[in-house]
């Protein structure tokens, strides 16, 4: 009788552990993927979009009162991605995430080389010729940064200060002049 109870108690505990792990490992990533799919459907891939209110991209804008957000879903399966950034002279931060929400790379206004630069994303070690070709392609700037993502898909988020009207205007102008596209295009 006791061993039967122990068996069912152990079975219940193991079921609880399995359910717990399954939930943590699979449910949030699936919920997040649904959000990414919505952004993809609305904006496409390898394209920078301002996260305006009411858009799918706005769902990742957690602090819209103090920051303007621009997002670019990327897929590096057909080549490296190039972000030609023109950034304002105030706080901004660019972060590259994988599709599970982990940060791959981060850069802010104090770390960036200049107000205008190109950021290249490669999913793996590129051959040196590919870097030279990308840097020489149309639209590149002299200030190039190369990032190895280790993943083919992910999302780039640019957050720029928007705590007052002046900051908002500067950020909006800069982000409208920032692009995200395949380096080969």
């Amino acid at each position: 009788m006791t061993s039967t109870r122990s068996f069912w108690a152990l079975f219940t505990v193991l079921t609880a552990i399995a359910a717990h792990l399954c939930y943590i490992l699979f449910v949030p990533p699936q919920q997040f993927q649904t959000k990414l799919d919505a952004i993809h459907t609305e904006n496409g891939i390898n394209k920078l979009t301002l996260a305006a209110p009411g858009t799918a991209a706005a769902s990742i804008a957690e602090y819209p009162g103090e920051l303007i957000y621009a997002v670019c879903l990327f897929d590096l399966s057909t080549g490296p991605l190039r972000i030609n950034a023109r950034v304002p002279e105030q706080y901004w931060a660019l972060e590259v995430y994988n599709t599970r929400g982990g940060t791959i790379y981060t850069l802010n206004d104090k770390q960036a080389p200049r107000r205008q630069f190109s950021l290249y994303l490669y999913d793996d070690d590129p051959d040196p010729e590919a870097i030279v070709n990308a840097a020489n392609s149309v639209g590149s700037s002299i200030n190039s940064i190369t990032v190895l993502t280790g993943t083919q898909t992910g999302i780039v988020v640019i957050r720029s200060a928007a705590a007052n009207q002046l900051e908002t205007a500067r950020s909006a102008e800069a982000l409208q002049n920032t692009s995200c596209s395949l380096a080969t295009s």
């Binding site: 399995a18 939930y23 997040f32 972060e95 994988n98 940060t103």
Partner: protein
């Protein structure tokens, strides 16, 4: 008890406990992966590629991409200094020495949706180093954050330039975070 009934009950109990515990561990009240500074909570490895699955789940389940902790440190609280849950029936006084971070903000959010009430370093009216903000459903003199239609009021304090703040180290174990005292209740 019939073995198939036992099986069904065990699975039901196991799955329920597993999911409820998983959901709890990704809330701000969870003591497991949050860092406590008084009544303020912080997810210290937010945005880190090597973060644990619980921190990752906490953010992405809500569709949020956490800023890397070197960019912004975000602190949350839903209790006053006495440990009582915040309610819009009361007025609270938030008090802090002006932060040294290059940017900072205080916002008030709730579960009922709508835009959070926000104050940044530019909005604060302050004569000296001491900054005080009143949180209340009714208008207050000076710095006022309106509490209204908030089922579950939560104060969010954000310090930009997380690296610098972290390097400065905790001040008395609190990082110089604001106090929040209840002034009155209706």
């Amino acid at each position: 008890m019939n073995p198939s009934v036992r099986f069904a009950v065990s699975v039901l109990v196991g799955v329920t406990v597993g999911i409820v515990s998983a959901r709890y561990m990704t809330t701000e009240q969870s003591p497991f992966f949050t860092e406590q500074y008084g009544n303020w909570n912080n997810w210290p490895v937010a945005g880190n590629p090597a973060n644990n699955p619980y921190t990752q789940a906490k953010f992405i389940a809500n569709g949020q991409l956490p800023e890397h902790f070197s960019e912004v440190l975000t602190f949350y609280r839903s209790q006053d200094d006495e440990g009582d849950k915040l309610t819009e029936d009361c007025t609270y006084l938030m008090s802090i020495n002006r932060p040294t971070a290059r940017r900072w903000s205080i916002s008030l959010t709730g579960n009922s949706g709508g835009s959070p009430q926000l104050m940044t370093q530019d909005d604060i009216i302050s004569m000296g180093d001491k900054v005080t903000v009143l949180l209340s459903a009714s208008p207050q003199p000076g710095n006022w954050l309106r509490m209204s239609n908030t089922d579950d009021p939560r104060v969010v304090f954000r310090l930009y330039d997380g690296d610098t703040i972290t390097a400065q180290g905790p001040t008395g174990g609190t990082l110089g975070l604001p106090s929040l005292t209840r002034v009155s209740c209706s």
